[in-house]
Protein backbone atom coordinates (compact mmCIF):
# COMPACT_ATOMS: atom_id res chain seq x y z
CA UNK A 1 0.00 0.00 0.00
CA UNK A 2 2.85 2.39 0.73
CA UNK A 3 3.83 2.70 -2.91
CA UNK A 4 0.41 4.01 -3.98
CA UNK A 5 0.71 7.75 -4.46
CA UNK A 6 -2.71 8.64 -5.86
CA UNK A 7 -5.83 6.64 -5.30
CA UNK A 8 -9.38 7.50 -6.32
CA UNK A 9 -12.39 5.35 -5.67
CA UNK A 10 -15.73 6.27 -7.25
CA UNK A 11 -14.64 9.91 -7.23
CA UNK A 12 -17.51 12.07 -8.47
CA UNK A 13 -17.96 15.78 -9.07
CA UNK A 14 -21.38 17.08 -9.93
CA UNK A 15 -22.13 20.68 -10.96
CA UNK A 16 -25.88 21.25 -10.76
CA UNK A 17 -27.02 19.05 -13.62
CA UNK A 18 -23.65 18.39 -15.23
CA UNK A 19 -21.42 15.54 -14.05
CA UNK A 20 -17.82 16.58 -14.62
CA UNK A 21 -16.27 13.45 -13.13
CA UNK A 22 -18.25 10.27 -12.86
CA UNK A 23 -17.22 7.48 -10.45
CA UNK A 24 -13.54 7.67 -11.30
CA UNK A 25 -11.21 4.88 -10.19
CA UNK A 26 -7.53 5.62 -10.52
CA UNK A 27 -4.32 4.34 -8.97
CA UNK A 28 -0.91 5.86 -9.56
CA UNK A 29 2.15 4.17 -8.08
CA UNK A 30 5.34 5.69 -6.79
CA UNK A 31 7.87 6.66 -9.43
CA UNK A 32 5.66 6.31 -12.48
CA UNK A 33 4.54 8.89 -15.01
CA UNK A 34 0.82 8.64 -15.53
CA UNK A 35 -0.90 10.45 -18.39
CA UNK A 36 -4.51 11.59 -18.24
CA UNK A 37 -5.79 11.81 -21.80
CA UNK A 38 -8.98 13.03 -23.24
CA UNK A 39 -10.63 15.83 -25.14
CA UNK A 40 -11.22 19.23 -23.54
CA UNK A 41 -14.04 19.07 -21.04
CA UNK A 42 -13.59 15.38 -20.30
CA UNK A 43 -12.98 16.08 -16.60
CA UNK A 44 -9.20 16.01 -16.42
CA UNK A 45 -8.75 19.41 -14.79
CA UNK A 46 -11.62 18.83 -12.38
CA UNK A 47 -10.00 15.59 -11.27
CA UNK A 48 -6.70 17.39 -10.70
CA UNK A 49 -8.37 20.14 -8.68
CA UNK A 50 -10.05 17.53 -6.49
CA UNK A 51 -6.73 15.80 -5.90
CA UNK A 52 -5.30 19.12 -4.70
CA UNK A 53 -8.25 19.95 -2.49
CA UNK A 54 -9.08 23.04 -4.56
CA UNK A 55 -12.53 21.65 -5.32
CA UNK A 56 -14.55 19.37 -3.09
CA UNK A 57 -15.75 16.08 -4.54
CA UNK A 58 -19.48 15.39 -4.40
CA UNK A 59 -18.87 11.70 -3.84
CA UNK A 60 -16.27 9.01 -3.56
CA UNK A 61 -12.82 9.00 -2.04
CA UNK A 62 -9.56 10.56 -3.11
CA UNK A 63 -6.25 9.84 -1.38
CA UNK A 64 -3.00 11.57 -2.23
CA UNK A 65 0.07 10.18 -0.45
CA UNK A 66 -2.41 8.59 1.94
CA UNK A 67 -3.97 11.96 2.83
CA UNK A 68 -7.48 13.21 2.18
CA UNK A 69 -7.18 16.39 0.06
CA UNK A 70 -10.57 17.68 1.17
CA UNK A 71 -9.73 17.48 4.88
CA UNK A 72 -5.95 17.82 4.98
CA UNK A 73 -5.36 20.24 2.11
CA UNK A 74 -2.33 21.90 3.70
CA UNK A 75 -0.43 18.62 4.11
CA UNK A 76 -1.33 17.57 0.59
CA UNK A 77 -0.39 20.89 -0.97
CA UNK A 78 2.91 20.97 0.93
CA UNK A 79 3.90 17.64 -0.67
CA UNK A 80 2.41 18.00 -4.12
CA UNK A 81 3.61 20.38 -6.82
CA UNK A 82 0.99 21.69 -9.22
CA UNK A 83 1.71 23.22 -12.61
CA UNK A 84 -1.55 24.66 -13.98
CA UNK A 85 -2.10 25.01 -17.70
CA UNK A 86 -0.61 28.30 -18.85
CA UNK A 87 0.96 29.00 -15.50
CA UNK A 88 0.99 32.68 -14.58
CA UNK A 89 3.58 34.77 -12.78
CA UNK A 90 3.81 38.22 -11.27
CA UNK A 91 5.17 39.79 -14.42
CA UNK A 92 6.74 42.83 -12.84
CA UNK A 93 8.74 40.73 -10.39
CA UNK A 94 11.92 38.91 -11.30
CA UNK A 95 12.14 35.14 -11.56
CA UNK A 96 13.91 35.02 -8.21
CA UNK A 97 11.28 37.21 -6.52
CA UNK A 98 8.52 34.98 -7.84
CA UNK A 99 10.29 31.94 -6.41
CA UNK A 100 10.83 33.80 -3.17
CA UNK A 101 7.13 34.39 -2.71
CA UNK A 102 6.26 30.75 -3.36
CA UNK A 103 8.97 29.61 -0.95
CA UNK A 104 7.60 31.91 1.76
CA UNK A 105 4.06 30.65 1.20
CA UNK A 106 5.47 27.17 1.76
CA UNK A 107 7.02 28.30 5.02
CA UNK A 108 10.57 27.71 3.82
CA UNK A 109 13.00 29.99 5.67
CA UNK A 110 16.45 31.35 5.08
CA UNK A 111 19.12 30.07 4.57
CA UNK A 112 17.34 26.96 3.25
CA UNK A 113 15.24 29.17 0.97
CA UNK A 114 18.14 30.69 -1.01
CA UNK A 115 19.79 27.31 -1.33
CA UNK A 116 16.66 25.68 -2.74
CA UNK A 117 15.96 28.59 -5.08
CA UNK A 118 19.48 28.46 -6.53
CA UNK A 119 19.23 24.71 -6.91
CA UNK A 120 15.84 24.89 -8.65
CA UNK A 121 17.00 27.65 -11.02
CA UNK A 122 20.06 25.58 -11.83
CA UNK A 123 18.00 22.47 -12.51
CA UNK A 124 15.67 24.16 -15.00
CA UNK A 125 18.50 26.18 -16.57
CA UNK A 126 17.33 29.67 -15.63
CA UNK A 127 20.19 30.72 -13.35
CA UNK A 128 21.54 33.30 -15.78
CA UNK A 129 18.17 35.11 -16.11
CA UNK A 130 17.12 34.83 -12.46
CA UNK A 131 17.12 38.58 -11.92
CA UNK A 132 15.23 39.49 -15.06
CA UNK A 133 11.57 40.42 -14.88
CA UNK A 134 9.30 37.56 -15.85
CA UNK A 135 7.45 39.69 -18.42
CA UNK A 136 10.51 39.39 -20.70
CA UNK A 137 10.42 35.58 -20.58
CA UNK A 138 9.43 33.34 -23.51
CA UNK A 139 6.75 30.68 -23.11
CA UNK A 140 9.33 27.94 -22.73
CA UNK A 141 11.15 29.89 -20.03
CA UNK A 142 7.93 30.55 -18.18
CA UNK A 143 7.09 26.88 -18.25
CA UNK A 144 10.49 26.02 -16.83
CA UNK A 145 10.10 28.68 -14.18
CA UNK A 146 6.82 26.98 -13.31
CA UNK A 147 8.72 23.76 -12.76
CA UNK A 148 11.28 25.60 -10.63
CA UNK A 149 8.45 26.86 -8.42
CA UNK A 150 7.40 23.28 -7.90
CA UNK A 151 10.90 22.02 -7.24
CA UNK A 152 11.59 24.44 -4.38
CA UNK A 153 9.08 22.61 -2.24
CA UNK A 154 10.72 19.28 -3.03
CA UNK A 155 7.50 17.46 -3.82
CA UNK A 156 6.83 13.74 -3.84
CA UNK A 157 4.21 14.10 -6.55
CA UNK A 158 3.97 16.61 -9.39
CA UNK A 159 0.69 17.24 -11.18
CA UNK A 160 0.89 19.01 -14.53
CA UNK A 161 -2.11 20.22 -16.49
CA UNK A 162 -1.45 20.45 -20.25
CA UNK A 163 2.22 21.25 -19.67
CA UNK A 164 3.34 21.29 -23.29
CA UNK A 165 0.45 23.24 -24.74
CA UNK A 166 1.57 26.30 -26.72
CA UNK A 167 5.26 25.42 -26.58
CA UNK A 168 7.37 25.31 -29.73
CA UNK A 169 8.87 21.91 -30.69
CA UNK A 170 12.30 22.71 -29.29
CA UNK A 171 10.80 23.85 -25.98
CA UNK A 172 8.67 20.70 -25.88
CA UNK A 173 11.73 18.52 -26.38
CA UNK A 174 13.57 20.28 -23.55
CA UNK A 175 10.51 20.07 -21.35
CA UNK A 176 10.04 16.34 -21.89
CA UNK A 177 13.72 15.83 -21.07
CA UNK A 178 13.12 17.73 -17.83
CA UNK A 179 10.17 15.46 -16.99
CA UNK A 180 12.29 12.35 -17.52
CA UNK A 181 14.95 13.85 -15.29
CA UNK A 182 12.37 14.40 -12.54
CA UNK A 183 11.25 10.80 -12.84
CA UNK A 184 14.88 9.72 -12.52
CA UNK A 185 14.95 11.62 -9.21
CA UNK A 186 12.15 9.40 -7.95
CA UNK A 187 9.29 11.89 -8.27
CA UNK A 188 5.90 10.57 -9.32
CA UNK A 189 4.28 12.58 -12.10
CA UNK A 190 0.65 12.86 -13.13
CA UNK A 191 0.14 14.84 -16.30
CA UNK A 192 -2.87 15.66 -18.36
CA UNK A 193 -2.72 16.38 -22.05
CA UNK A 194 -4.39 15.93 -25.36
CA UNK A 195 -1.11 16.11 -27.26
CA UNK A 196 -0.73 12.40 -27.70
CA UNK A 197 2.72 12.00 -29.18
CA UNK A 198 4.22 13.80 -26.22
CA UNK A 199 2.25 11.76 -23.74
CA UNK A 200 3.32 8.59 -25.47
CA UNK A 201 6.93 9.73 -25.36
CA UNK A 202 7.11 10.05 -21.57
CA UNK A 203 4.23 8.21 -19.90
CA UNK A 204 4.52 4.76 -18.36
CA UNK A 205 0.78 4.35 -18.22
CA UNK A 206 -2.13 6.35 -19.53
CA UNK A 207 -5.80 6.68 -18.74
CA UNK A 208 -8.28 7.76 -21.38
CA UNK A 209 -11.03 10.11 -20.20
CA UNK A 210 -14.33 10.49 -21.89
CA UNK A 211 -17.28 12.44 -20.54
CA UNK A 212 -16.09 12.29 -16.95
CA UNK A 213 -15.28 8.59 -16.93
CA UNK A 214 -12.02 6.79 -17.37
CA UNK A 215 -12.81 4.44 -20.20
CA UNK A 216 -9.39 2.86 -20.82
CA UNK A 217 -6.32 2.45 -18.70
CA UNK A 218 -2.96 0.79 -19.21
CA UNK A 219 0.30 1.04 -21.11
CA UNK A 220 0.18 2.38 -24.64
CA UNK A 221 0.62 -1.07 -26.20
CA UNK A 222 -2.11 -2.54 -23.99
CA UNK A 223 -4.48 0.14 -25.15
CA UNK A 224 -3.52 -0.43 -28.76
CA UNK A 225 -4.20 -4.13 -28.34
CA UNK A 226 -7.63 -3.45 -26.96
CA UNK A 227 -8.76 -0.66 -29.24
CA UNK A 228 -7.03 -1.42 -32.50
CA UNK A 229 -7.49 -5.17 -32.18
CA UNK A 230 -4.16 -5.90 -33.83
CA UNK A 231 -1.34 -4.19 -32.08
CA UNK A 232 1.11 -4.62 -34.96
CA UNK A 233 0.81 -2.72 -38.20
CA UNK A 234 3.07 -3.94 -40.93
CA UNK A 235 3.62 -2.05 -44.14
CA UNK A 236 4.39 -4.28 -47.13
CA UNK A 237 5.58 -3.07 -50.50
CA UNK A 238 5.41 -5.83 -53.07
CA UNK A 239 4.65 -6.46 -56.75
CA UNK A 240 2.32 -9.32 -57.58
CA UNK A 241 -1.25 -7.97 -57.56
CA UNK A 242 -4.15 -9.96 -56.07
CA UNK A 243 -1.94 -12.96 -55.50
CA UNK A 244 -0.06 -11.14 -52.78
CA UNK A 245 -3.23 -9.79 -51.28
CA UNK A 246 -4.84 -13.19 -50.86
CA UNK A 247 -1.59 -14.74 -49.68
CA UNK A 248 -1.30 -12.17 -46.90
CA UNK A 249 -4.89 -12.82 -45.85
CA UNK A 250 -4.16 -16.50 -45.38
CA UNK A 251 -1.46 -15.94 -42.75
CA UNK A 252 -2.39 -16.82 -39.16
CA UNK A 253 -2.77 -13.92 -36.68
CA UNK A 254 -3.64 -11.46 -39.43
CA UNK A 255 -6.57 -9.24 -38.52
CA UNK A 256 -6.92 -7.08 -41.60
CA UNK A 257 -5.19 -6.42 -44.91
CA UNK A 258 -5.75 -3.29 -46.93
CA UNK A 259 -4.25 -2.00 -50.13
CA UNK A 260 -3.88 1.72 -50.43
CA UNK A 261 -1.62 2.04 -53.47
CA UNK A 262 -0.81 -0.27 -56.35
CA UNK A 263 2.16 -1.92 -54.61
CA UNK A 264 1.54 -1.00 -51.02
CA UNK A 265 -0.36 -3.04 -48.42
CA UNK A 266 -1.11 -2.52 -44.75
CA UNK A 267 -1.35 -5.59 -42.57
CA UNK A 268 -2.76 -5.51 -39.06
CA UNK A 269 -1.67 -8.48 -37.01
CA UNK A 270 -1.65 -9.78 -33.46
CA UNK A 271 2.03 -10.60 -33.57
CA UNK A 272 5.15 -9.54 -35.44
CA UNK A 273 4.69 -11.33 -38.78
CA UNK A 274 7.48 -9.70 -40.79
CA UNK A 275 9.45 -12.93 -41.36
CA UNK A 276 6.33 -14.89 -42.32
CA UNK A 277 5.16 -12.18 -44.68
CA UNK A 278 8.51 -12.04 -46.46
CA UNK A 279 8.53 -15.80 -46.95
CA UNK A 280 4.91 -15.91 -48.11
CA UNK A 281 5.29 -13.12 -50.66
CA UNK A 282 8.31 -14.82 -52.18
CA UNK A 283 6.56 -18.23 -52.11
CA UNK A 284 3.60 -17.00 -54.18
CA UNK A 285 5.98 -15.48 -56.73
CA UNK A 286 5.69 -11.82 -55.76
CA UNK A 287 8.55 -9.34 -55.57
CA UNK A 288 9.13 -8.01 -52.09
CA UNK A 289 10.26 -4.38 -52.26
CA UNK A 290 9.92 -3.23 -48.72
CA UNK A 291 8.79 -4.30 -45.26
CA UNK A 292 8.41 -2.15 -42.17
CA UNK A 293 6.55 -2.19 -38.89
CA UNK A 294 4.75 0.73 -37.22
CA UNK A 295 4.67 0.86 -33.49
CA UNK A 296 1.09 1.60 -32.58
CA UNK A 297 0.64 5.27 -31.80
CA UNK A 298 -1.63 6.72 -29.22
CA UNK A 299 -2.97 8.96 -31.95
CA UNK A 300 -4.51 5.99 -33.65
CA UNK A 301 -5.86 4.52 -30.44
CA UNK A 302 -7.44 7.84 -29.67
CA UNK A 303 -8.89 8.41 -33.13
CA UNK A 304 -10.21 4.87 -33.34
CA UNK A 305 -11.66 5.00 -29.87
CA UNK A 306 -13.62 8.15 -30.51
CA UNK A 307 -14.82 6.92 -33.90
CA UNK A 308 -16.63 4.09 -32.24
CA UNK A 309 -16.78 5.76 -28.86
CA UNK A 310 -20.47 5.17 -28.39
CA UNK A 311 -20.17 1.43 -28.85
CA UNK A 312 -17.31 1.23 -26.38
CA UNK A 313 -19.01 3.37 -23.79
CA UNK A 314 -22.00 1.05 -23.94
CA UNK A 315 -19.91 -2.08 -23.45
CA UNK A 316 -17.50 -0.64 -20.85
Amino acid sequence: MTDVVVECRDLTKQYDTFTAVDRLNLTVRKGEIFGLLGPNGAGKTTTILMLLGLTEPTGGIARVLGLDPARQPLSVKARVGYLPDQVGFYDNLTARENLNYIAKLNGIREPEMSRRIEQALEQVGLSNVADRRVKTFSRGMRQRLGVAEILIKQPQLIIMDEPTLALDPEAVREFLALIRQLKANGITILLSSHLLQQVQAVCDRVGLFHKGRMVLEGTVSELAQRVLGGAYRIRVEAEGGDLVMSALRELPDVVKVSQHEARSYNVEARSDLRAEIARKVVDVGGKLLGLSIDTPSLDEVYARYFQKGAAYAASA
Partner: protein, 328 residues
Amino acid sequence: MQQARNIATSRQREGSPWTGLWAVVAKEMADYLTSARMLILEALILLTAFGTVYAASQNLRAGVGSGDDFLFLRLFTTAREPLPAFVGFLGLLVPLLAIALAFDSINGEFNQRTLSKVLAQPIYRDALLLGKFLAGLGTLALALTAIWLLIVGMGLLQLGVPPSGEETTRMLWFLLITIFYGGIWLALAMLFSIVFRQPATAALAAIAIWLFFTVFWGIIASLLARVLQPVPPGDTQALINQIQLELMLTRISPNTLFSEVALAMLNPAVRALGIVLPIQLHNAIPGTPLPASQSILLTWPHATGLIAATIVLFAIGYILFQRQEVRA
Protein backbone atom coordinates in the same frame (compact mmCIF):
# COMPACT_ATOMS: atom_id res chain seq x y z
CA MET B 1 -22.47 11.42 21.28
CA GLN B 2 -18.83 10.38 21.19
CA GLN B 3 -19.27 9.33 17.60
CA ALA B 4 -20.84 12.64 16.67
CA ARG B 5 -17.89 14.46 18.15
CA ASN B 6 -15.47 12.30 16.18
CA ILE B 7 -17.26 13.11 12.96
CA ALA B 8 -17.25 16.79 13.85
CA THR B 9 -13.49 16.83 14.44
CA SER B 10 -12.75 14.81 11.34
CA ARG B 11 -14.71 17.28 9.24
CA GLN B 12 -12.65 20.14 10.54
CA ARG B 13 -9.95 21.57 8.34
CA GLU B 14 -6.43 20.87 9.48
CA GLY B 15 -4.06 23.64 10.44
CA SER B 16 -4.50 27.37 10.91
CA PRO B 17 -6.32 29.48 8.34
CA TRP B 18 -3.64 32.12 8.80
CA THR B 19 -0.73 30.01 7.53
CA GLY B 20 1.18 32.14 5.05
CA LEU B 21 -0.73 35.32 5.96
CA TRP B 22 2.36 37.44 6.55
CA ALA B 23 4.02 36.25 3.36
CA VAL B 24 0.96 37.52 1.46
CA VAL B 25 0.87 40.81 3.39
CA ALA B 26 4.57 41.50 2.79
CA LYS B 27 4.39 40.74 -0.91
CA GLU B 28 1.17 42.69 -1.52
CA MET B 29 2.35 45.70 0.42
CA ALA B 30 5.60 45.79 -1.54
CA ASP B 31 3.52 45.65 -4.72
CA TYR B 32 1.20 48.44 -3.60
CA LEU B 33 3.95 50.76 -2.48
CA THR B 34 5.86 50.49 -5.74
CA SER B 35 2.94 50.42 -8.18
CA ALA B 36 2.57 53.35 -10.57
CA ARG B 37 -1.06 54.03 -9.76
CA MET B 38 -0.27 54.36 -6.05
CA LEU B 39 2.53 56.82 -6.80
CA ILE B 40 0.18 58.94 -8.93
CA LEU B 41 -2.54 59.02 -6.29
CA GLU B 42 -0.11 59.71 -3.48
CA ALA B 43 1.37 62.56 -5.46
CA LEU B 44 -2.13 63.92 -5.99
CA ILE B 45 -2.97 63.79 -2.30
CA LEU B 46 0.37 65.30 -1.35
CA LEU B 47 -0.19 68.11 -3.79
CA THR B 48 -3.66 68.91 -2.44
CA ALA B 49 -2.40 68.62 1.13
CA PHE B 50 0.42 70.99 0.40
CA GLY B 51 -1.76 73.46 -1.48
CA THR B 52 -4.68 73.60 0.91
CA VAL B 53 -2.64 73.57 4.08
CA TYR B 54 -0.32 76.24 2.78
CA ALA B 55 -3.25 78.42 1.82
CA ALA B 56 -4.89 77.81 5.20
CA SER B 57 -1.73 78.60 7.12
CA GLN B 58 -1.37 81.89 5.26
CA ASN B 59 -4.80 82.83 6.55
CA LEU B 60 -4.14 81.56 10.03
CA ARG B 61 -0.84 83.30 10.61
CA ALA B 62 -2.75 86.46 11.27
CA GLY B 63 -4.57 84.66 14.05
CA VAL B 64 -1.49 83.47 15.96
CA GLY B 65 -1.52 84.93 19.42
CA SER B 66 -5.13 86.07 19.12
CA GLY B 67 -6.26 83.51 21.66
CA ASP B 68 -7.57 80.86 19.25
CA ASP B 69 -6.76 77.57 21.00
CA PHE B 70 -7.22 75.34 17.99
CA LEU B 71 -5.07 76.85 15.26
CA PHE B 72 -3.74 73.46 14.23
CA LEU B 73 -7.17 72.02 13.66
CA ARG B 74 -8.01 74.98 11.46
CA LEU B 75 -5.23 73.86 9.11
CA PHE B 76 -7.49 71.03 8.02
CA THR B 77 -10.70 72.96 7.84
CA THR B 78 -9.87 76.46 6.66
CA ALA B 79 -10.76 77.07 3.07
CA ARG B 80 -9.33 79.93 1.08
CA GLU B 81 -10.80 80.76 -2.31
CA PRO B 82 -10.52 79.13 -4.76
CA LEU B 83 -9.32 76.08 -2.79
CA PRO B 84 -11.71 74.11 -0.55
CA ALA B 85 -10.47 72.87 2.82
CA PHE B 86 -8.25 69.81 3.02
CA VAL B 87 -10.93 67.68 4.73
CA GLY B 88 -13.15 68.22 1.73
CA PHE B 89 -10.44 66.88 -0.53
CA LEU B 90 -9.82 63.92 1.79
CA GLY B 91 -13.47 62.94 1.62
CA LEU B 92 -13.09 62.64 -2.14
CA LEU B 93 -9.58 61.28 -2.49
CA VAL B 94 -9.48 58.61 0.21
CA PRO B 95 -12.22 56.50 -1.47
CA LEU B 96 -10.45 56.87 -4.81
CA LEU B 97 -7.17 55.78 -3.29
CA ALA B 98 -8.80 52.77 -1.62
CA ILE B 99 -10.64 51.73 -4.79
CA ALA B 100 -7.46 52.08 -6.82
CA LEU B 101 -5.69 49.76 -4.39
CA ALA B 102 -8.17 46.92 -4.40
CA PHE B 103 -10.27 46.87 -7.57
CA ASP B 104 -8.07 44.22 -9.24
CA SER B 105 -6.85 42.35 -6.18
CA ILE B 106 -8.58 39.02 -6.86
CA ASN B 107 -9.59 39.18 -10.52
CA GLY B 108 -6.12 40.48 -11.35
CA GLU B 109 -4.62 37.30 -9.93
CA PHE B 110 -7.21 35.32 -11.79
CA ASN B 111 -6.48 36.97 -15.13
CA GLN B 112 -2.75 36.70 -14.58
CA ARG B 113 -3.36 32.98 -13.94
CA THR B 114 -1.53 33.14 -10.65
CA LEU B 115 -4.59 32.40 -8.51
CA SER B 116 -4.69 28.64 -8.96
CA LYS B 117 -0.95 28.49 -8.50
CA VAL B 118 -1.00 30.45 -5.24
CA LEU B 119 -3.93 28.42 -3.92
CA ALA B 120 -2.01 25.23 -4.73
CA GLN B 121 0.53 26.27 -2.10
CA PRO B 122 -0.08 25.10 1.47
CA ILE B 123 -2.24 28.09 2.48
CA TYR B 124 -5.98 28.58 2.80
CA ARG B 125 -7.96 31.10 0.81
CA ASP B 126 -8.55 32.97 4.06
CA ALA B 127 -4.88 33.92 4.23
CA LEU B 128 -4.83 35.22 0.67
CA LEU B 129 -7.93 37.39 1.03
CA LEU B 130 -7.17 38.73 4.50
CA GLY B 131 -3.53 39.24 3.55
CA LYS B 132 -4.53 41.37 0.59
CA PHE B 133 -6.97 43.35 2.69
CA LEU B 134 -4.49 43.96 5.50
CA ALA B 135 -1.83 44.98 3.00
CA GLY B 136 -4.27 47.47 1.44
CA LEU B 137 -5.27 48.85 4.82
CA GLY B 138 -1.62 49.04 5.84
CA THR B 139 -0.72 50.93 2.69
CA LEU B 140 -3.62 53.30 3.23
CA ALA B 141 -2.62 53.85 6.85
CA LEU B 142 0.99 54.45 5.86
CA ALA B 143 0.10 56.98 3.17
CA LEU B 144 -2.42 58.85 5.33
CA THR B 145 -0.12 58.93 8.34
CA ALA B 146 2.69 60.31 6.20
CA ILE B 147 0.41 63.05 4.91
CA TRP B 148 -0.84 63.74 8.41
CA LEU B 149 2.73 64.13 9.68
CA LEU B 150 3.54 66.36 6.75
CA ILE B 151 0.64 68.64 7.61
CA VAL B 152 1.68 68.82 11.24
CA GLY B 153 5.22 69.62 10.12
CA MET B 154 4.04 72.35 7.80
CA GLY B 155 1.88 73.73 10.56
CA LEU B 156 4.87 73.93 12.89
CA LEU B 157 6.90 75.76 10.28
CA GLN B 158 4.20 78.12 9.14
CA LEU B 159 2.45 78.91 12.39
CA GLY B 160 5.38 78.64 14.74
CA VAL B 161 3.32 77.19 17.60
CA PRO B 162 3.23 73.54 18.69
CA PRO B 163 -0.10 71.69 18.79
CA SER B 164 -1.58 71.16 22.23
CA GLY B 165 -2.29 67.70 23.66
CA GLU B 166 -5.97 68.34 23.08
CA GLU B 167 -5.38 69.08 19.40
CA THR B 168 -3.09 66.07 18.97
CA THR B 169 -5.74 63.74 20.42
CA ARG B 170 -8.35 65.14 18.07
CA MET B 171 -6.10 64.89 15.05
CA LEU B 172 -5.10 61.31 15.87
CA TRP B 173 -8.71 60.21 16.26
CA PHE B 174 -9.52 61.93 12.99
CA LEU B 175 -6.61 60.08 11.31
CA LEU B 176 -7.89 56.75 12.63
CA ILE B 177 -11.40 57.41 11.33
CA THR B 178 -10.00 58.47 7.96
CA ILE B 179 -8.17 55.14 7.69
CA PHE B 180 -11.35 53.18 8.41
CA TYR B 181 -13.30 55.38 6.02
CA GLY B 182 -10.77 54.17 3.42
CA GLY B 183 -11.25 50.62 4.75
CA ILE B 184 -14.90 50.61 3.65
CA TRP B 185 -14.01 51.48 0.09
CA LEU B 186 -11.14 49.04 0.16
CA ALA B 187 -13.46 46.23 1.23
CA LEU B 188 -16.05 47.27 -1.35
CA ALA B 189 -13.52 47.35 -4.21
CA MET B 190 -12.19 43.97 -3.08
CA LEU B 191 -15.72 42.56 -3.02
CA PHE B 192 -16.23 43.73 -6.60
CA SER B 193 -12.88 42.27 -7.60
CA ILE B 194 -14.23 38.90 -6.46
CA VAL B 195 -17.63 39.31 -8.12
CA PHE B 196 -16.45 40.67 -11.47
CA ARG B 197 -13.90 38.87 -13.61
CA GLN B 198 -12.85 42.08 -15.38
CA PRO B 199 -10.87 44.61 -13.30
CA ALA B 200 -12.32 47.48 -15.35
CA THR B 201 -15.88 46.41 -14.48
CA ALA B 202 -14.97 46.14 -10.81
CA ALA B 203 -13.38 49.60 -10.82
CA LEU B 204 -16.38 51.17 -12.57
CA ALA B 205 -18.84 49.48 -10.23
CA ALA B 206 -16.95 50.72 -7.17
CA ILE B 207 -16.69 54.24 -8.56
CA ALA B 208 -20.40 54.17 -9.45
CA ILE B 209 -21.25 53.41 -5.82
CA TRP B 210 -18.90 56.12 -4.63
CA LEU B 211 -20.51 58.64 -7.01
CA PHE B 212 -23.96 57.52 -5.91
CA PHE B 213 -23.17 58.24 -2.26
CA THR B 214 -21.25 61.42 -2.98
CA VAL B 215 -23.72 63.06 -5.35
CA PHE B 216 -27.11 61.39 -5.33
CA TRP B 217 -27.73 59.91 -1.92
CA GLY B 218 -28.28 63.29 -0.25
CA ILE B 219 -30.99 64.15 -2.78
CA ILE B 220 -32.63 60.73 -2.56
CA ALA B 221 -32.57 60.77 1.24
CA SER B 222 -34.35 64.09 1.38
CA LEU B 223 -36.97 62.95 -1.15
CA LEU B 224 -37.51 59.71 0.74
CA ALA B 225 -37.88 61.52 4.03
CA ARG B 226 -40.52 63.79 2.53
CA VAL B 227 -42.48 60.85 1.14
CA LEU B 228 -42.24 58.66 4.23
CA GLN B 229 -42.83 61.39 6.77
CA PRO B 230 -45.10 64.04 5.29
CA VAL B 231 -45.47 67.20 7.35
CA PRO B 232 -48.98 68.59 7.76
CA PRO B 233 -48.93 72.40 8.03
CA GLY B 234 -48.22 73.54 11.54
CA ASP B 235 -47.14 70.13 12.89
CA THR B 236 -43.74 70.82 14.43
CA GLN B 237 -43.29 67.32 15.79
CA ALA B 238 -43.79 65.85 12.31
CA LEU B 239 -41.26 68.33 10.95
CA ILE B 240 -38.72 67.24 13.55
CA ASN B 241 -39.44 63.59 12.73
CA GLN B 242 -38.92 64.28 9.06
CA ILE B 243 -35.57 65.95 9.66
CA GLN B 244 -34.53 63.10 11.97
CA LEU B 245 -35.47 60.55 9.32
CA GLU B 246 -33.55 62.38 6.63
CA LEU B 247 -30.52 62.51 8.89
CA MET B 248 -30.78 58.78 9.57
CA LEU B 249 -30.99 58.07 5.86
CA THR B 250 -28.03 60.24 4.91
CA ARG B 251 -25.97 58.49 7.56
CA ILE B 252 -26.20 55.28 5.55
CA SER B 253 -23.60 56.93 3.32
CA PRO B 254 -20.04 56.56 4.61
CA ASN B 255 -19.33 60.01 3.20
CA THR B 256 -21.82 61.55 5.64
CA LEU B 257 -20.36 59.64 8.55
CA PHE B 258 -16.89 60.78 7.62
CA SER B 259 -17.80 64.44 7.17
CA GLU B 260 -19.68 64.46 10.50
CA VAL B 261 -16.64 63.01 12.25
CA ALA B 262 -14.45 65.63 10.59
CA LEU B 263 -16.85 68.33 11.69
CA ALA B 264 -17.00 67.18 15.30
CA MET B 265 -13.34 66.35 15.75
CA LEU B 266 -11.78 69.31 13.98
CA ASN B 267 -14.27 71.84 15.25
CA PRO B 268 -14.41 71.61 19.04
CA ALA B 269 -17.32 74.04 19.25
CA VAL B 270 -19.64 71.46 17.68
CA ARG B 271 -21.62 69.92 20.53
CA ALA B 272 -24.10 67.73 18.68
CA LEU B 273 -24.52 66.18 15.28
CA GLY B 274 -28.08 66.62 14.18
CA ILE B 275 -30.76 69.01 15.14
CA VAL B 276 -30.56 70.83 18.44
CA LEU B 277 -33.61 72.52 19.85
CA PRO B 278 -33.19 75.85 21.62
CA ILE B 279 -34.52 74.28 24.80
CA GLN B 280 -31.59 71.84 24.82
CA LEU B 281 -29.15 74.73 24.72
CA HIS B 282 -30.52 76.15 27.91
CA ASN B 283 -27.63 77.19 30.17
CA ALA B 284 -25.04 76.34 27.52
CA ILE B 285 -22.50 78.94 26.52
CA PRO B 286 -22.52 79.02 22.72
CA GLY B 287 -19.14 78.65 21.06
CA THR B 288 -17.32 77.09 24.01
CA PRO B 289 -15.22 74.12 22.93
CA LEU B 290 -15.95 70.58 24.01
CA PRO B 291 -13.13 68.51 25.57
CA ALA B 292 -11.59 65.98 23.15
CA SER B 293 -13.00 63.03 25.11
CA GLN B 294 -16.53 64.38 24.67
CA SER B 295 -16.00 64.86 20.94
CA ILE B 296 -14.73 61.29 20.68
CA LEU B 297 -17.84 60.14 22.51
CA LEU B 298 -19.94 62.14 20.06
CA THR B 299 -18.34 60.40 17.06
CA TRP B 300 -18.14 56.95 18.65
CA PRO B 301 -21.24 55.65 16.84
CA HIS B 302 -19.79 56.89 13.57
CA ALA B 303 -16.53 55.06 14.18
CA THR B 304 -18.45 51.90 15.07
CA GLY B 305 -20.56 52.25 11.95
CA LEU B 306 -17.57 52.71 9.67
CA ILE B 307 -15.69 49.74 11.14
CA ALA B 308 -18.82 47.55 11.12
CA ALA B 309 -19.51 48.35 7.47
CA THR B 310 -15.90 47.46 6.62
CA ILE B 311 -16.24 44.12 8.38
CA VAL B 312 -19.60 43.33 6.77
CA LEU B 313 -18.31 44.07 3.27
CA PHE B 314 -15.20 42.01 3.90
CA ALA B 315 -17.30 39.13 5.23
CA ILE B 316 -19.51 39.10 2.12
CA GLY B 317 -16.42 39.05 -0.06
CA TYR B 318 -14.94 36.28 2.08
CA ILE B 319 -17.99 34.06 1.67
CA LEU B 320 -18.13 34.61 -2.09
CA PHE B 321 -14.41 33.96 -2.46
CA GLN B 322 -14.60 30.71 -0.49
CA ARG B 323 -17.29 29.43 -2.81
CA GLN B 324 -15.69 30.56 -6.04
CA GLU B 325 -14.33 27.97 -8.43
CA VAL B 326 -10.65 28.54 -9.13
CA ARG B 327 -10.62 27.03 -12.58
CA ALA B 328 -10.74 29.21 -15.65
